[in-house]
């Protein structure tokens, strides 16, 4: 059945289409979360799904996040593939215990006899002028936990593909959706119900989005667009910046990153999360180990501060925007 189709759509629609195709492909796929039914989710990612798949498969849950994940674990043990929506990044913490002590470890505790194919979708990161707890980037708090996989798309096409791959995965996957990019449009090639070709690119592989020779700029999720703009700006100054979209945080594709740094000799990592103990810290350590003799400058991180996510009027200053990224690049190039 040739069902491949290419259309332009926003990331929100790509995610919605991905969920729809996954549900059509496998009757065991369920959607659970707060307001995911008639409302279609506060970001409308599940729009229309309850109408078409019914209340048994698109489940409006009580407002209790630990309950969402805890019951999803039970459903997974029964053979279902729950896709849970946590309404906002800052609301995941009531479920943190279930995710860390139960979901992440159960496969190992059972000596591999049970699988936990649970996807946890979390709209994350800032830039939308929201109140507190609606703009955070908690990915590092999950990356530290063995048993979880963590991915984050930056484009509508990746959003479609990576979500289907995550639903197909037999491990728990935390799927961080950059909410500030939900309405960015892009070309999406959908694979239809059969999903043939969905794995053309592995879920956990980083991608070089733009080749360059002077410096590698690594980003993921919401900062990828910023990174591309920074590379564009540097090109006007005749500096060649390579942009790597990491896509997967756990596992992380250090091979692709290493190959890039070996070509450029310099690395700047950009993420919205606080840099202290963040993904950039791990990247800096590993790239230093792998590329010590190739590095012309220390790895530099541009990201959030060790302070609570600020009120919306300050987030433009707080977030690693174009100017702060360019400043980081300048400093590394000048080293």
């Amino acid at each position: 059945m040739a069902t491949t189709d290419t259309r332009t759509m926003p990331m929100a629609k790509a995610l919605n289409t991905s969920l729809r195709h996954a549900m059509e492909a496998d009757p065991k796929v369920l959607i659970m979360g707060e307001d995911v039914g008639k409302l279609g989710g506060v970001f409308r990612i599940t729009d229309g799904l309850q109408k078409d798949f019914g209340e048994e498969r698109v489940i409006d849950t009580p407002l209790a996040e630990s309950g969402i994940i805890g019951t999803a674990i039970g459903l997974a043990l029964r053979g279902y593939r729950p896709v849970c929506e946590i309404q906002f990044d800052g609301f995941v913490f009531p479920a943190y215990d279930q995710i860390v002590t139960q979901l992440a470890k159960m496969h190992a505790r059972a000596l591999g006899t049970v699988k936990l194919p649970v996807v946890i979708r979390i709209p994350y990161a800032g830039g939308i002028g929201a109140v507190e707890h609606h703009s955070e980037s908690p990915e590092a708090l999950f990356a530290h936990v063995a048993g979880l996989k963590i991915v984050t798309p930056s484009t509508p096409d990746d959003a479609y593909r990576m979500l289907r791959q995550s639903i197909d995965c037999d491990d728990p996957v935390i799927f961080f959706e950059p909410k500030s990019r939900y309405w960015d449009k892009g070309e999406v090639t959908t694979e239809g119900v059969d999903g043939e070709g969905i794995d053309a690119e592995p879920l956990h592989r980083a991608r070089v989005l733009r080749e360059g020779t002077d410096l590698t700029l690594a980003a993921y999720g919401p900062t990828v667009r910023t990174a591309l703009r920074a590379a564009e700006a540097m090109a006007e100054e005749d500096r060649s910046v390579e942009v790597v979209d990491l896509r997967s945080i756990s596992p992380m594709d250090f091979d692709t990153l290493q190959a890039s740094v070996e070509r450029t000799g310099r690395l700047v990592v950009v993420h919205e999360a606080p840099v202290f103990f963040g993904a950039g810290a791990e990247i800096a350590a590993r790239i230093t180990e792998r590329c010590f003799y190739h590095l012309e400058a220390p790895v530099l991180r541009v990201g959030g501060f060790h302070a609570p996510y600020p009120p919306a009027r300050l987030e433009e200053e707080y977030l690693p925007g174009l100017d702060r990224v360019l400043d980081g690049i300048d400093r590394v190039l000048a080293f």
Binding site: G67, G70, G74, A110
Partner: protein, 445 residues
């Protein structure tokens, strides 16, 4: 294996126990919530759960005016109303501490001699296994052991109400339930010896892994039960937990979810009076079984040291769940006769007097008294069970002493189902590190 679990589990049990009075007892919540697809399922009961207690007390005719009222003692913080030493007049009992059979208006049970002897055997063997494990900890063979001493009737009675297709989510103390589910007792010791963190296939006996984080499993049970309902299957799920866990948010959320989705789950709370050093007063101001009313499903307190009452009540609850009646809470009122675990010292926080008072309510003793009095078990039969328990003890000792340590590289096994690059990398690095010692050894000598 020289000792096998009593009663072939392949034999589905009559959930109703013949004439149990579940219709009135397991008064169903008002039909306001569930709009689930299979509304065709017949509810087994009628009436409002909140009226159950009063109706039962009136019907029971025992104990005169109920001591526990919703208002009577509420003003006195020194005597929480649930703190009735042995369970109070609301408690379902079919076998007195003196071994006398009594009737209850809502729950009845009619077991033949073999079944009664089987329950006794289960309890003796479970107690023996537990004592053996405690000894093995003292001998250094186990790092820790949480004894179930005193809770044999609550566990055997509830677990013998289940069918093969039912599913159990235990805490870490459900050794008697595991026994009834057919889990090899030696397998329970693995995590306490430190050779694994779980160690069995939950689907092998529909008995999930022991769960150490308090209350987490009640949500797993609820989710599993939601799946059972979606499948249109007629199985029940039982979530075991304790009085301490009743304070956990996860348990509250499990109650909410199960009620909202009418999930076929039975919450089986063993109130053993102590959460390590904290008495039940530190967890609740109302009897635990009454919490159910606030969620819209029935709750009942049963004498947790009365294996017959536990069996009767659990049969009614699981049958109700299997037939679409939704969740139910059972509070088995019992007592933790031993320490919380082998690392605990109960002399620091509770009196000998209290323990002695509970000794007279021993679950094994009362069934044994009943069996002897009724002429259902003579000295030879009792001796045969003792002999069998000796054999079990020997087998457990042998099993623990021959239990192999895990391979070092097991650290990296089953971290992920679909693999993970970092685990692969670290596994290879660690293997190379270990191999470097072998090289040194070879060269140096």
């Amino acid at each position: 294996m020289t000792v096998e679990s009593t009663a072939a589990r392949s034999r589905p049990r009559d959930g109703g126990g013949g004439t149990d009075g579940s219709t009135e007892q397991t008064a169903e919540r008002k039909d306001t919530g569930p709009t689930r697809r299979n509304t065709g399922r017949k509810a087994t009961a009628s009436g409002a759960g909140t009226r159950k207690g009063a109706a039962k007390k009136a019907a029971s005719g025992r104990g005169g005016a109920p001591k526990a009222s919703t208002s009577g003692k509420a003003g006195n913080p020194g005597t929480p109303e649930h703190r009735d030493e042995f369970g109070g007049p609301d408690m379902v009992q079919l076998l007195t501490p003196e071994g006398e059979r009594v009737e209850h208006p809502d729950y009845t049970i009619d077991l033949d001699a073999d079944e009664l002897r089987g329950l006794y055997r289960d309890m003796v063997l479970t107690r023996r296994f537990d004592a053996e494990a405690t000894s093995l900890q003292r001998q250094g063979e186990l790092g820790l052991w949480p004894s179930l001493l005193g809770q044999e009737a609550a566990q055997i009675g509830s677990a013998r109400a289940l069918r093969d297709d039912d599913y159990v989510f235990p805490t870490y103390r459900e050794h008697g339930v595991a026994w009834c589910r057919g889990v090899d007792p030696a397998q329970l010791l693995g995590m306490f010896r430190g050779v694994n963190n779980g160690g069995w296939d939950p689907n092998g006996n529909n008995f999930h892994l022991y769960t150490i984080v308090i209350g987490s499993q009640t949500l797993h049970a609820t989710g599993y039960a939601m799946g059972v309902a979606k499948d249109g299957a007629e199985s029940a799920v039982v979530a075991y937990f304790g009085d301490g866990a009743s304070s956990q948010g996860d348990v509250a959320e499990a109650f909410t979810y199960s009620a909202v989705y009418n999930a076929p789950v039975v919450f089986f709370c063993q109130n053993n009076q102590w959460a390590i050093s904290e008495p039940t007063e530190k967890q609740t101001r109302v009897p635990l079984y009454r919490r159910a009313a606030g969620y819209g499903f029935p709750g009942v307190r049963v004498d947790g040291n009365d294996v017959l009452a536990v069996l009767a009540v659990t049969r009614a609850a699981v049958e109700r769940a299997r037939t679409g009646g939704g969740p139910m809470l059972i509070e088995a009122f019992t007592y933790r006769m031993g320490a919380h675990t082998t690392s605990d010292d109960p002399t620091r926080y509770r009196s000998d007097e209290e323990r002695r008072a509970w000794e007279s309510r021993d679950p094994l003793l009362r069934l044994r008294t009943h069996l002897e009095r009724e002429g259902l078990m003579d000295a030879d039969a009792l001796a045969a069970v003792e002999e069998e328990s000796d054999a079990l003890g020997r087998r457990v000792r042998e099993a623990i002493r021959t239990m192999p340590d895990p391979d070092t590289m097991a650290i990296f096994e089953n971290v992920y189902a679909d693999g993970h690059a970092l685990v692969d990398e670290e596994r290879a690095q660690f293997a190379a590190y270990l191999a470097s010692f072998e090289d040194t050894h070879g060269e140096g000598n």
